[in-house]
């Protein structure tokens, strides 16, 4: 009898507990970390020294997509990929780029301006909801440029959009990642090409 009880307890620990854990994981939220590579923009550099400040809201940005029943379905972590994107784009746009961890470092670095990107909104369209064969990602950014002392230079909104090609056999995670990478490329192209056309930036560039 003792032997039987010990066998049951062992079976419970070795088989049922992992199975239960797997079942719970299956019902939980799916984590998707956006990963990809970004080409360096092929543009003329501006003769500026710029500091970039990534605040925690950007570095740890994650978006939660809810299912139609209201439960958490996908947790999309794109903060790190945004940092990688700006790290690839900014050195191609400006003569000198330094990353700072707080605004006090900006004055010590003797830079012309401090760039602070922020994600304001993230939207996702899944084929299961739209009934289309494509995944779509739309992101709204608030781009801010301030002096090393923290005074306002420019503050503008940029949106980016990405979608996957039509394809039936693709995992949801791969579809979200692909659409997000296209959206990030879109951000890089519009940011690098329109930076000097932002009226406040244009006025500031003319004044220095």
């Amino acid at each position: 009898m003792t032997k039987q009880r010990s066998f049951n307890s062992k079976t419970f620990r070795q088989v049922l507990l992992p199975a239960l854990a797997l079942l719970l994981v299956g019902c939980g939220v799916n984590n998707v970390t956006i990963e990809g590579s970004f080409p360096t923009p092929n543009i003329s550099k501006l003769p500026l020294s710029v500091a970039v400040y990534y605040d925690d809201a950007l570095k740890q940005f994650a978006y939660l997509e809810y299912s139609e029943t209201g439960s958490e379905e996908y947790n999309i972590e794109s903060g790190q990929s945004h940092v990688e994107l700006f790290d690839a784009v900014l050195p191609a746009m400006f003569e000198n780029v330094v990353e700072i961890t707080d605004m006090e470092q900006a004055q010590a670095q003797n830079v012309d301006a401090v760039f602070m990107p922020l994600i304001e909104e993230f939207q996702l369209a899944l084929p299961s909801k739209t009934k289309l064969d494509v995944y779509e990602v739309w992101i709204k950014y608030n781009m801010r440029l301030v002096t090393p002392e923290g005074d306002y230079i420019a503050d503008w909104v940029l949106t980016s959009y990405g979608k996957t090609p039509t394809e039936t056999f693709r995992s949801v995670e791969a579809g979200i990642n692909e659409a997000a990478i296209v959206a990030l490329r879109d951000l890089a192209s519009s940011f690098s090409l329109t930076f000097t056309q932002v009226p406040e930036v244009r006025d500031w560039l003319a004044s220095i």
Binding site: P39, T40, P41, N42, I43, S44, K163, P165, T166, R185, D186, A188, S189, S190, S192, L193
Partner: protein, 223 residues
């Protein structure tokens, strides 16, 4: 009968079976020439897909197929792969920033970095491929069952594929549109199922790719 004769018979049987398994496709190619063309051995072509439309985007596999076919066979042309070109020219050929008209290309070539990179690749022609393949007239049904004694499928399905692609050729030297080639291919596919489904697929996109690539190769060579 010796083994050599058996092998030959097997080959003939496979060829006949393959012929039966491929459904018919009809392809029409129209060419509209607007300027003189010609290409030197040190010059190259890049084939790019149009992706600015909201309701469709040109399939990158089709674009790759056209480029690959232009780069092989008689009179092969140097073709720069699409992704390599788009990455090297980033951010000028992204869906939102790519030039839509030759006037835009003129503005783009005024940028030193763009002109230099274009020179490094030796690009003489940019081919813009725009189009998609549509599946229509889906009919029939197939049902499959499985049991302890085995399984099987019964029924019949059919559909029509229509591939329509335009290829605009821009001369990077003269910054003009030198011509347009249109390919329209359509074909009916069948899927009868008698225990095992037997797909008789019309190779519409493959035929459109092959015919478009052949025509483009002759077009840029000026023949």
């Amino acid at each position: 009968m010796n083994s050599y004769g058996l092998q030959n018979r097997a080959k003939v049987f496979v060829l006949i079976a393959f012929g039966f398994l491929s459904a018919c496709t009809s392809t029409t190619v129209d060419e509209f020439r607007q300027g003189e063309t010609g290409i030197e051995s040190h010059e190259s072509v890049v084939v790019l897909g149009r992706r600015q439309a909201s309701d469709y985007e040109t399939d990158s596999d089709f674009v790759e197929c056209v480029g690959e076919r232009m780069a092989r066979g008689d009179g092969a042309i140097n073709v720069v792969p699409e992704q390599e070109f788009v990455d090297a020219m980033f951010p000028w050929f992204e869906p939102r920033t790519a030039p839509l008209r030759t006037r835009d290309l003129e503005t783009l070539m005024a940028e030193d970095v763009v002109a230099r990179k274009m020179g490094e690749f030796g690009i003489r022609y940019i081919v813009w491929v725009d189009g998609f393949t549509e599946t229509t007239d889906r009919q029939g049904s197939i049902s499959c069952t499985i049991g302890p004694g085995g399984g099987g499928c019964f029924g019949f399905g059919t559909w029509e594929d229509d591939a329509n692609f335009d290829a605009r050729v821009w001369d990077v030297g003269s910054l003009t549109n030198v011509g347009t080639i249109n390919t329209d291919a359509s074909g009916q596919s069948y899927l009868p199922a008698l225990v095992v489904p037997i797909p008789l697929i019309a190779r519409v996109e493959a035929n459109a790719c092959s015919r478009l690539a052949t025509q483009l190769k002759e077009f840029v060579q000026g023949s």
